[in-house]
Each structure stands twice: as C-alpha cells, then as structure tokens.
C-alpha cells in the first residue's frame, strides 16, 4: 500500500513537471497569439466573442484533461 502510494506520488511529481513545461509552451505559443484576435472580437463582435469564449474554455478543459490523464497513465506504467 505504502509502496503504491510512493509510486503514485513520484508519477504525479513527474507529471506535474512535464505538465508545467507543456503549459509554459502553451502560454507563449497559443495564448500569446490569440490575445490580439480575442481583444478585437471582444471590442467589435460581442456575440461571436461569447461563443468563442465558451468553446475555448470547454475545448481547453477536454484537451488538458486528456493530456493529464494520458501523462499519468503513461508514467504509472513506466514506474510499475
């Protein structure tokens, strides 16, 4: 039980580190580029902005959840 918990904790720590690198790349590559376009939408096309906003947050939720789940599964298998 204790061994299992230690393995999970180690896998989680590595997952966090890998995730942090991915998220940093995401900040600079995606969000930075999206900034101007979203600002333009927010000031001129509010309804489109509302639809894009909800799609972006939902899409990111599904994508990041998939990434973290896959990472965790992969790392757990590797450490087993």
């Amino acid at each position: 039980m204790k061994k299992d918990a230690a393995k999970n904790l180690r896998a989680f720590a590595i997952e966090l580190a890998v995730y942090a690198v991915l998220v940093t790349c995401y900040f600079f590559l995606v969000l930075h580029l999206l900034g101007d376009w979203l600002y333009h939408l927010e000031t001129r096309h509010r309804y489109t902005y509302a639809a894009v906003a909800i799609l972006l947050i939902a899409g990111q939720a599904v994508a990041l959840d998939t990434v973290t789940t896959l990472l965790f599964r992969l790392l757990r298998r590797r450490w087993r």
Binding site: A53, I54, Q60, T68
Partner: protein
C-alpha cells in the same frame, strides 16, 4: 503577462496557482470557489465586473474536468443534474432581478451583506452540528475509515428523518433517480435548484455552498453523488452565466484560460481525494468554506474595502 481585454498585467504563475487551489476545492467539495477567485483577481487590479465574469468562465472549464472525473467514479446523476440546471437558471435570473430592485431602493450592499453573513453562518453551524453528530453515532463511517466503492456512497446523516419526510411528499410528477437511489417530486428538485440559483444571482458565484448541502439534506442524495452532480450542474448554469457576462463585456477569457491550466491538476487531486473520505467527513471539512465567505463579507462591511 499583459491581458488586453481587461487591461491588466498579471503574472501567469499567480493565476495558475490560484486556479490550482480552487481546482482542489472544486473537485473535493463540488463548489465553484468564487469566494477565492473573485478577491484573488481583484487583488491583481482586475475590475470587479471582469473578476465576476472571468471567474464564471474559469468555473466552466474546471467543472468540466472535475465532473468528468467524478463521472468516471460513478458520482454523477445526469438526470438530476439536468432537472436542477433548469431551476438554477430560473433562480439566478430572479436573484439578479432582486439585486436590481435593491439597487433602485439604494441599499443593495447592506442587505446583500447581511443576508450573506446569516446564510453562510447558518450553513456552517448546521453542517458542523449534523456531521459531528453523524460521526459520533458511527453511522456514517466505515470500519477502516477509508471508503471505496459504490456501497460507501450510501452515507447516513443525522438529518435523514427530515429528508425521508420530504421524500414522502407525493406531489406529481414523481421522479425516480436510480443513480442516487431516491424517488422524489420534481417540484422539490426544482425548488432546491431554484433557491440555489437565487443565491447564485443574489450573492454571486455558483452557490455550490448552498446547493451541495441542500442536495444532501433536502433531496437525500449521497454526499459523493451530490458533489459530482453539483459540478455537472455548474457546467450548465455557469456556461449560461459566462455567455451572458461575455455579451455584456465582463469576461477576459485569456485570464480564465491561464487560471484553468492550474485548475485542471487541482480538480483531479480533489476528485481522487473524495474516494478516501466518508460523506460526513467531507461535510465536516466543508464547514470552513462558508465561514471564509462570511469573513470576507464582514471584512468588506467593517473596512469598506471590497476584496
């Protein structure tokens, strides 16, 4: 990092850490965490209207992740969640109208503050009393103290005689909820959701601190299922709120997206943690949340500064 929509300079690591903390709370208790997110954004100089709208957008993303994880653990009653979403949206509109009426009367801040303090304290005291009584009687605890599997979700409560009486009210149409293991009038479900929605519109945020306990004590939904279903319901109602606020120009989606990167990990930790606690223990741990909300309101009243 500069966020052009809300015209604010905020460190993205700060946002991710705030998201992480709220994610843990959301995954474990089924709350939106607006009582932390709102003040945290205000602290960085984000205008109040952007703080409210952006927080709602971030809640949508976090709740999708947490609800998905809870669903995998069998903690989401989809049927109940759909019915509740209708009541919540209607209630939120009524709450917002109530705020508008109080604004016209000129005493909105004082009334909302006093109502919030009474409600927050009431919930905290009641949940403290109930969960401690249940834990003392030993009914809600498994022998090992660790809980896993579907059986463990059928937790007991010191308030269950009242809950059973509410379930006996046979007002047509009666709804059977096999996942939660209850049969109850649709009107009771809608009323609980409506009251939660009114508080959401009146006090702001997702009002999970009202809805989650109401689902346990009034509807008789097991605590684990109440947490998961509340999150699922928040996805629907917060999406509605986000669209509404975005149209009014109150959402900085870039801030929400950055906050959400931290919330994803936090929510997963919160969800996994629920597996290791019995229902009454989750309810006992919930007690400080409304007290934090009350403390923020009292601080605002005493100092005149809005956090």
């Amino acid at each position: 990092m500069f966020f052009p929509i809300s015209n604010a300079h905020i460190n993205p690591i700060y946002l991710a850490v705030v998201g992480f903390v709220i994610g843990i709370l959301g995954g474990f208790f089924g709350v939106g965490g607006s009582f932390i997110a709102g003040p945290a954004l205000r602290l960085m100089g984000v205008d109040w209207n952007y703080a409210v709208g952006t927080d709602l957008a971030h809640i949508v993303g976090k709740s999708i992740v947490a609800a998905k994880q809870h669903r995998a653990l069998g903690n989401v009653d989809l049927k109940l969640g759909f019915f509740m979403a209708f009541g919540t949206i209607a209630g939120a509109e009524c709450g917002a109208q109530l705020i508008q009426a109080l604004k016209r009367a000129g005493n909105v801040n004082l009334v909302v503050s006093y109502v919030a303090i009474v409600v927050y304290f009431g919930i905290a005291v009641f949940m403290l009393w109930e969960s401690r009584k249940t834990l003392r009687s030993g009914k809600g605890r498994s022998q090992s103290g660790l809980v896993k599997g579907a059986e463990s979700k059928k937790d007991r409560s010191a308030f269950s005689p009242v809950t059973r009486n509410i379930q006996r009210l046979k007002i047509w149409p009666m709804i059977t909820l096999p996942t939660s293991g209850i049969r109850i009038s649709l009107w009771t479900i809608l009323l609980v959701a409506f009251v939660g929605g009114v508080f959401s519109g009146f006090l702001g945020g997702g009002a999970g601190y009202i809805r989650m306990p109401s689902m346990v004590y009034v509807l008789g939904v097991p605590t684990h299922l109440a947490v998961g279903t509340d999150l699922f319901e928040i996805v629907i109602s917060a999406s509605y709120g986000t669209i509404s606020h975005a149209i009014k120009g109150n959402v900085d989606i870039l801030i929400a997206l950055v906050m959400h990167t931290g919330a994803v990990i936090g929510a997963q930790i919160g969800v996994v943690a629920t597996q290791y606690f019995a229902g009454p223990k989750i309810r006992l741990a919930f007690v400080p949340l409304p007290l934090i909300g009350a403390a923020i309101v009292i601080y605002t009243l005493v100092t005149g500064h809005k956090l």
